[in-house]
């Protein structure tokens, strides 16, 4: 049988990396020297020069350590809540696809309530509601959790996690349902147990399908983190607010804040693109 030459029936290469930046999409050296590009580059350069020269940036060195700390807090908030939220989102999505009806109804209710109310409201309900309820119970005040429960960040983490879980639960529901039934059937046909099928086929396939959506949702989550500044967590937004109060400078700190969030978003998007491109998908 080894001797049988089989025809190579590969179709002509019409493949693209969906969502990816391909080398041909990147600007080449001469494309910078087209007239309209030169004009736009000059305008941008003048703008940056004016911002740097005419605006006040002398406060930056003084606040740099605080800004660094704020960025770390923002990133810690983002990653801890995105990871915890995703871990919750997987079962939330899964039971909505295959679970018994009580679990399905429970997951659906949770997602609907959380997605139907503002995150700021949830945050304040947790912080001012639970946060003021807890100290009334001596058992809680004496428990090992109290040092954490009297801080504000656990309430921020809880609210952001719950919110992310609810949105991503819906995303994962769609992703789980969208994995072709035939691939799961193949897994069953070769004797995979339910757990092996979930771990090896269903979950990785669903995550791969959901990655572009998860990318967008994580960027949204980054920009939901400043809300924790309203419950006294000192993230990068809170640091910038402090700068504005201390120095009476209005615009410059906000411009810097915008730049910081844009850089963080850029890094997130690149990281997700890298993950997406690890498994190429076939474009049209």
């Amino acid at each position: 049988m080894t001797g049988v030459p089989l025809p190579d029936t590969t179709p002509p290469d019409v493949t693209t990396h969906a969502m990816a930046i391909l080398p041909e999409d990147l600007p080449t050296a001469d494309s910078f020297f087209r007239p309209h590009r030169i004009v736009l580059i000059l305008i941008a350069a003048v703008l940056v020069f004016c911002i740097a020269w005419f605006m006040r940036w002398d406060w930056i060195p003084q606040y740099l350590p605080k800004l660094g700390h704020g960025i770390i807090v923002t990133l810690a908030m983002l990653f801890s809540t995105a990871i915890l939220g995703f871990v919750l989102a997987v079962p939330l999505g899964l039971v909505q696809v295959t679970g018994p009806w009580p679990l399905k109804a429970l997951a659906k209710t949770f997602c609907t309530i959380i997605r139907g109310t503002p995150l700021l409201l949830q945050l304040w309900l947790l912080y001012y509601g639970l946060g003021s309820l807890f100290p009334q119970f001596p058992a809680i005040r004496q428990s090992f959790l109290w040092p954490y429960l009297r801080e504000s960040w656990p309430y921020g983490v809880a609210a952001l996690t719950i919110s992310f879980a609810a949105y991503e639960g819906e995303v994962m529901r769609g992703a789980f349902a969208g994995v072709p039934a035939g691939e799961l059937e193949a897994a069953r046909a070769y004797g995979m147990s339910r757990w092996t099928m979930f771990r090896r086929i269903w979950l990785p396939r669903a995550i791969h399908r959901a990655l572009p959506t998860l990318n967008g949702e994580t960027v949204l989550q980054l920009k939901a983190t400043p809300l924790v500044a309203t419950i006294t967590v000192i993230d990068v937004y809170a640091v910038i607010s402090k700068v504005r109060q201390d120095t009476y400078i209005t615009y410059e700190p906000l411009l810097l804040l915008a730049l910081i969030y844009m850089c963080l978003t850029g890094i997130l998007v690149m990281a997700f693109r890298y993950l997406e491109n690890r498994i190429p998908t076939r474009g049209a």
């Binding site: 049988m1 080894t2 049988v4 030459p5 089989l6 025809p7 029936t9 590969t10 179709p11 493949t15 072709p180 035939g182 691939e183 059937e185 193949a186 897994a187 069953r188 046909a189 070769y190 004797g191 995979m192 147990s193 092996t196 090896r200 086929i201 990785p204 396939r205 791969h208 498994i279 190429p280 998908t281 076939r282």
Partner: protein, 288 residues
């Protein structure tokens, strides 16, 4: 003097007796582990709501048999094949694989379900299923698809599984494509990869569910070549197909299903050369 020596001494004068005790247990064991019957299906019924698709189908596949199941669309061929590995649960009837009958229990809705999921999972690893729509796992490369079950179900070492998989991919002519993802292959290549994936579990029986029906006509040949070579090796196979010429060439037994029952069965030359039942005559004339 030990008991063994005593027995030998006793046997010295009786060559025939020694022959019996020496040889027969071996012969007996090999007979026990490889029963001639690879698959035995008995009185299989399948009902989808009010529609009874299979109305008592029995079929035995012995080791080395190549059985082709033919029939019009809606005759229940695919359903029958999918009942063998419990992808569809038969409403009634038993399936025996390698001498082991799948234990069933009532499901409380008039049908039945496997009593022991673990048993079904274990027996399924003896059946290499090939699907009409390939069903390769799209998030894995071709090589990863082929080693997936040996490594994560059968517990083989990765190195061993890769060695076997590469040999199989060479056989189906896809060694160069081992690191490609399924979406980048043609239908024929995907189906050949799916056959390699099924062979990698070293199945007792290969089950083919219309393996060429989803392919462009010019890609059918390459897949049939691979299946035909497996048949020549005397690999036990049950094949649901629309390729009549191919069925006639590779199968040693043809089963014609019509309206959920076996209308006629026999050797290919008899089925295609001198069909007896009216339905089979009409079916054969309709495809020529």
């Amino acid at each position: 003097m030990t008991g063994k020596n005593a027995a030998r001494k006793e046997n010295q004068g009786n060559c025939f007796h020694a022959f019996e005790t020496g040889i027969l247990p071996l012969a007996g064991r090999s007979f026990m582990t490889i029963p001639a019957q690879a698959i035995a299906v008995s009185q299989l019924h399948k009902r989808f709501g009010p529609l009874e698709v299979l109305k008592g189908v029995s079929l035995t596949a012995n080791q080395g048999d190549v059985i082709a199941i033919i029939g019009g669309s809606g005759s229940g061929k695919s359903t029958f094949l999918r009942c063998i590995n419990m992808l569809e649960l038969p409403t009634a009837g038993t399936v025996t694989i390698h001498g082991e009958t799948i234990a069933m229990k009532k499901d409380g809705r008039g049908g039945q379900m496997p009593a022991d999921r673990k048993q079904v999972e274990r027996l399924r690893t003896q059946l290499g299923m090939v699907f009409q729509s390939f069903n390769l796992w799209q998030h894995m490369t071709i090589l990863q698809n082929v080693i997936e079950v040996p490594v994560h179900v059968l517990g083989k070492s990765k190195a061993e599984a890769i060695e076997t998989a590469e040999a199989l991919l060479r056989r189906v002519g896809l060694f160069e494509k081992r690191d490609a993802y399924p979406a980048f292959l043609s239908g024929g290549q995907q189906q050949r990869a799916a056959i390699a994936r099924a062979l990698a579990i070293q199945p007792l029986v290969m089950l083919f569910d219309e393996p060429t029906s989803a392919l462009d006509p010019q890609l059918v040949g390459e897949v049939l070549t691979v299946i035909g070579d497996l048949a020549k090796e005397k690999r036990t196979m049950i094949l649901v197909t629309h390729e009549m010429k191919f069925a006639r060439n590779v199968a040693n037994h043809i089963v014609f299903l019509a309206d959920g029952v076996i209308e006629e069965q026999g050797p290919p030359d008899e089925i295609f050369g001198s069909p007896k039942s009216e339905k089979l005559k009409r079916f054969i004339s309709s495809i020529h």
